[in-house]
């Protein structure tokens, strides 16, 4: 047993323990926090599994944004779960045990964990690993697969994110404007001088880090998705400490919505440009005389599109939730 195995084992057991604690806990605030811990743990596990890019995303999304969204919702829907005898957990348990047993039976046919000869590793992965450097010219195989080989797929994902942003907006936007005057950060947050000053120091750092992640994604872990979330988190921090109306002044709502659409448009238009040049949709080698150079340009452009869309959609979602929160507070 080397250290890596030990760490893996511990992380997996902690995951299980955390999940069970989430089932048992009735305080939903605590449950959301434990879900955040669960996200951090799984992200650490991804690092152990060599999936640095995924760990990056999971740490920022699973541990950060999703916890924040859960908490905003809970601030509106109430903190405690109702304890009722109406449910029959026994039936659910039987069902769950049955499904679990079937799934475990299914795993018995799978090759043991970590075998290099497993069928998954023999399909397209060798080609990506062996040829991607010559064809795309960037060292991060994940980025080259994400942005170039499977660019069409990623385009679909970006559209899904955009659609989800529109959906949240449609659900939570009020026709009438919330009166901005009533918005004051709660008294104690107002007094947090230290917090505000540190946040003012941190926000430029965060934005700079976001830029680094955006443009370093070809050489290390990072890329548009991660950078978008990091960028958005800087705005979250600002709006949490200085109030939503202040944050709305910084990022204009209309501009944000237009930018979200523009990101998708940028991605799609790169595909159109390559079509115009007589290549396949999203085949970036059409963008320049030198194929590898064209790939570089294309990846840069679409990562930018992804980054813009993810940032703005996250901001839209978060602001929609917090805006709703205030309206709720007004009514009470």
């Amino acid at each position: 047993m080397n250290m890596e195995t030990v760490i893996n084992m511990v992380l997996l057991s902690l995951l299980v323990v955390t999940a069970i604690a989430i089932v048992r806990i009735k305080d939903l605030f605590a449950a959301a926090m434990l879900a955040g811990i669960y996200g951090l743990l799984s992200a650490s596990f991804f690092v152990m599994m060599d999936a640095v890019d995924v760990a990056f995303t999971e740490a920022s999304v699973g541990a950060g944004i999703s916890t924040l969204l859960m908490l905003t919702t809970l601030a509106m829907t109430g903190r405690f779960e109702k304890i009722s005898g109406n449910y029959r957990p026994r039936l659910a348990l039987v069902l769950v045990a049955l499904t679990g047993a079937l799934l475990i039976y299914g795993t018995l046919d799978m090759p043991a964990f970590g075998t290099a000869a497993a069928p998954v590793h023999e399909h397209v992965a060798p080609r990506y690993l062996n040829d991607s450097y010559a064809e795309i010219g960037i060292p991060n195989a994940v980025t080259s697969v994400l942005a170039s080989y499977r660019g069409f797929d990623t385009f679909g994902e970006v559209v899904v994110i955009f659609t989800a942003g529109i959906g949240v907006l449609a659900l939570l936007m009020r026709a009438e404007k919330p009166t901005p005057r009533t918005q004051t950060p709660t008294a104690s947050m107002h007094e947090h001088m230290v917090l505000r000053i540190v946040a003012k120091m941190l926000i430029p750092l965060i934005l700079l880090f976001g830029l680094y992640v955006q443009f370093h994604g070809e050489y290390g872990p990072g890329g548009g998705f991660q950078a978008g979330v990091i960028f958005a988190s800087a705005f979250f921090l600002y709006s949490m400490l200085f109030g939503l109306s202040e944050a709305r002044k910084v990022v204009n709502h209309v501009v944000v919505q237009i930018l979200a659409a523009l990101g998708v448009l940028l991605y799609g238009s790169v595909g159109i440009v390559s079509l115009m040049n007589g290549k396949n949709f999203l085949d970036y080698s059409a963008l320049s005389a030198d194929a590898v150079h064209g790939q570089h340009l294309g990846i840069l452009a679409i990562e930018l599109g992804v980054g813009i869309t993810v940032t703005t959609v996250m901001i839209i979602i978060f602001f929609a939730f917090s805006g709703r929160n205030q309206i709720e507070g007004e009514k009470d």
Binding site: M1, V16, T77, T107, V145
Partner: protein, 117 residues
């Protein structure tokens, strides 16, 4: 790491079932969404475990290393995570609207109100 065998996948199944249990057995809608997130994350863990090769390193190519883990699951899961948060946000938005219309987020109370209408 071969001591793991299939243990890794079994833990994933266990996590998945815990998430599943929360979704079907608990009445609070926010809790259900938390359970859904657990389920989702366990699927991610499953995929990423599939991509791991023993003794390999992260698929960011450097000189002198020949064995890398499989990058394909990483790509799939990376986008899935961000899409997952977007859909979770949509679900939470629905919960907020339900709370506004029904005044509760407990499943049985919502059913009761529906039937009394």
């Amino acid at each position: 790491m071969s001591e793991f065998g299939l243990f890794n996948y079994w833990v994933v199944m266990l996590l998945m079932m815990i998430g599943f249990y929360i979704v079907i057995a608990q009445g609070n809608l926010v809790k259900k969404l938390i359970g859904l997130t657990l389920f989702q994350t366990s699927v991610f863990i499953m995929y990423i475990s599939l991509g791991k090769i023993e003794g390999a390193t992260a698929p960011i190519l450097i000189e002198g290393v020949t064995l890398y883990s499989n990058p394909l699951p990483h790509v799939l899961i990376l986008t899935a995570i961000v899409v997952g948060i977007a859909t979770t946000a949509l679900g939470l938005a629905l919960v907020v609207r339900i709370k506004e219309s029904y005044g509760t987020v407990e499943e049985d109370e919502i059913h009761a109100k529906d039937e009394s209408c």
